[in-house]
């Protein structure tokens, strides 16, 4: 009888998985997130290699081949697989090169907004009440303006260009980081490990960057992923309104703006750049959702 039972109660001795492995486990479980991750990887590769893999120069005009439809439609031409735009430029080459701009915008905006926002947020969380209130009211003021409107006005002040659009978008997105960082810093400050670090004599800088900041990173990482996609969308919107990258830059939003008048005549010049934006943004958001689920212990399965 003992023997029979011992089989039933067989116990497995398992190792507790490491942090990165645990993260990957949760991330991998979300198939959409993994899918988004691979699309994002492809997007990065395209952005890095666009000048070499594109069949043509993105600004070269083949005047005799204007508005050629994609190959699978009647009148298509294999030298322009996705057709040409009204000026006879190759759509495929322009789309591939457009990935560079979007990627660049995303990276720059996230780095600028996140580093500024995290610094201000940490400062607000640690500083005396008056400075905290000052910083937070300042952020409230920025947040009172609809983001796209503020970005538009900033670009109007600075002059329309992709660089200025990036600066404007970074300024507009930065308060979110400040709020997020401050909220999690304040949440962490009350915890025992911070007190013990204080008691152990950790200095203010050490407390800020070594003790507290790493424990606040999870929501910030998620926010970074989400603002990467917001940055791409906003830059494209500014480009579409003529306030971002200027023609003939093959930026996706700018391409859409140029194509608007051909909307009913040549579907591909309108559909394809937008599709590129949608797929990129969707992939990043899928990834961001996966990150959030993997990093947020609240939503973990028990």
């Amino acid at each position: 009888m003992d023997h029979a039972l011992s089989k039933e109660v067989e116990t497995q001795v398992e190792q507790r998985p490491g942090r990165l492995r645990e993260f990957w486990f949760y991330f991998r479980e979300n198939r959409g997130a993994v899918f988004g991750f691979w699309i994002f990887v492809a997007f990065v590769i395209v952005a890095a290699t666009a000048p070499w893999i594109a069949p043509h120069d993105p600004t070269q005009q083949f005047r005799e081949f204007a508005l050629i439809p994609p190959v699978w439609q009647e009148g298509g031409n294999w030298s322009f697989p996705l057709g040409t735009d009204p000026l006879g430029r190759d759509m495929l080459s322009r789309l591939l090169n457009g990935a560079r701009y979007s990627f660049f915008v995303g990276i720059v905006v996230v780095v600028v907004a996140a580093s500024g926002g995290i610094l201000l947020g940490l400062l607000a969380g640690f500083s005396p009440k008056w400075l905290d209130a000052l910083i937070m009211r300042l952020m409230d003021i920025i947040l009172a303006f609809p983001s796209l409107l503020l970005a538009l006005v900033l670009v109007a002040i600075l002059g329309p260009s992709l660089t200025n659009a990036m600066i404007a978008i970074a300024i507009v997105l930065q308060p979110h980081y400040v709020r997020l960082t401050r909220a999690s810093v304040i949440g962490e400050l009350g915890k025992d490990y911070v007190t013990s670090a204080r008691v152990a004599g950790a200095g203010l800088w050490r407390l800020m960057f070594v003790t507290v900041l790493p424990n606040c990173l999870a929501p910030i990482i998620v926010q970074a992923a989400l603002s990467f996609s917001t940055a791409i969308l906003d830059a494209a919107a500014l480009g579409f309104l003529g306030m971002g990258a200027q023609p003939p830059t093959p930026e996706w939003g700018t391409m859409l703006a140029e194509a608007r008048e051909f909307i009913l005549r040549a579907w591909w010049v309108v559909t394809l750049p937008g599709l590129a934006i949608l797929i990129t943004v969707l992939a990043i958001n899928l990834m961001g959702d996966g990150l959030r689920d993997a990093l947020d212990p609240k939503l973990k399965r028990s």
């Binding site: 039972l5 116990t11 001795v13 398992e14 190792q15 399965r301 028990s302």
Partner: protein
């Protein structure tokens, strides 16, 4: 036929590191008017087994049982709809945290009338009258005003009384109280326990009291079932258990009671309940057991006979007393 009969109940949770068995082959019986205490440390699976009985576990949990019979119905074989007719009416439960167990958005009156209207089909007026009656029964002063209050406007003790009133509203045959006093002040604890025992005496319902407090057990229970790491390790009526515990874990729990301390220092049980990743191969208590030998560490023990309190132990204690009697 007993009111509640559980045979070979197991509950497993799906987690990152694989399956975790929170409840492991538990048998339990409760009769009408019986007061059974389930005792154990946190993580011993005592609440989970009762939540499984109520059907309240999240979807990650897998419940298996040979028998899960309540009042003649096998709950494990019933449809969810049929089960809801029993749960909340004949089978009720109250929880550890009275503050968070009541919906913050509704008045307590709404929450108590709701059960009455659904299970007993009472109209508004009848439900209101019954709610007043219940509040008086559980000793809530000024019941008419209190019915209009929101949970956060009342103290923890009052909220637990509301929870009890709600649980007994449909005159259940069995009430499960999951650490009903843990979150409350000491003075309130005794009042709530007295209330539960009084209600049992008045209505003849069965009472299952989940607790980790041996003092509570001694005062209220008739029978005690001791749980450790998901398993039932011993079950005895309350007096024999306190006099002659058979499982070393029970013995250690009793020794840790301040009232029983003979030494200057209070004895403790070294170590913690094994979790998912450090489950021992043999007897689950062996890493913390002062009597364990290699046999204990390799071979899991099976429950002994009723004369030894069904103790899951290779070397039960106090066997001589049995011989003497």
């Amino acid at each position: 036929m007993s009111l509640l009969r559980l045979r070979n109940l197991s509950v497993e949770f799906a987690t990152t590191g694989g399956r975790f068995r929170a409840v492991d082959q538990v048998d339990l019986d409760v009769d009408k008017g019986d007061v059974l205490a389930i005792v154990g440390e946190s993580g011993s699976g005592k609440s989970v087994s009762m939540l499984a009985l109520m059907g309240l576990l999240p979807w990650t949990a897998k419940v298996t049982a040979d028998e899960m019979v309540f009042d003649g119905h096998d709950l494990s074989k019933m449809s969810a709809r049929a089960r809801r007719k029993i749960v909340g009416k004949d089978l009720a439960m109250i929880f550890q945290e009275p503050m968070s167990s009541l919906n913050p958005c509704f008045t307590v009156g709404f929450q108590i009338r709701e059960a009455l209207r659904i299970h007993l089909g009472m109209d508004r007026r009848a439900a209101q009258a019954r709610a007043l009656e219940l509040f008086e029964l559980v000793g809530i002063p000024d019941p008419e005003q209190r019915l209009k209050a929101f949970p956060h406007q009342m103290s923890g003790g009052m909220n637990q009384r509301v929870m009890i009133a709600m649980a007994i509203s449909c005159s259940p045959k069995l009430l499960i109280a999951d650490e009903p006093t843990t979150a409350l002040d000491v003075t309130i604890q005794a009042q709530i326990l007295d209330l539960l025992v009084r209600l049992r005496d008045e209505t003849g319902m069965g009472l299952v009291l989940i607790t980790h407090d041996m003092g509570v057990v001694a005062e209220t229970a008739q029978r005690v079932s001791v749980h450790y790491a998901g398993q039932k390790v011993e079950e005895q009526p309350v007096r024999p258990l306190f006099r002659s515990p058979h499982h070393p874990y029970t013995s250690a729990l009793l020794a840790a009671l301040p009232e029983r301390a003979t030494d200057k220092r209070l004895p403790t049980i070294p170590g913690v309940v094994p979790g998912q990743f450090d489950r021992p191969q043999g007897c689950l208590f062996s890493p913390r057991c002062p009597y364990a030998d290699d046999h204990c560490r390799k071979v899991p023990p099976a429950p002994r006979g009723p004369d030894l309190g069904l103790a899951r132990c290779h070397y039960p204690l106090n066997t001589d007393e049995r011989l003497a009697s």
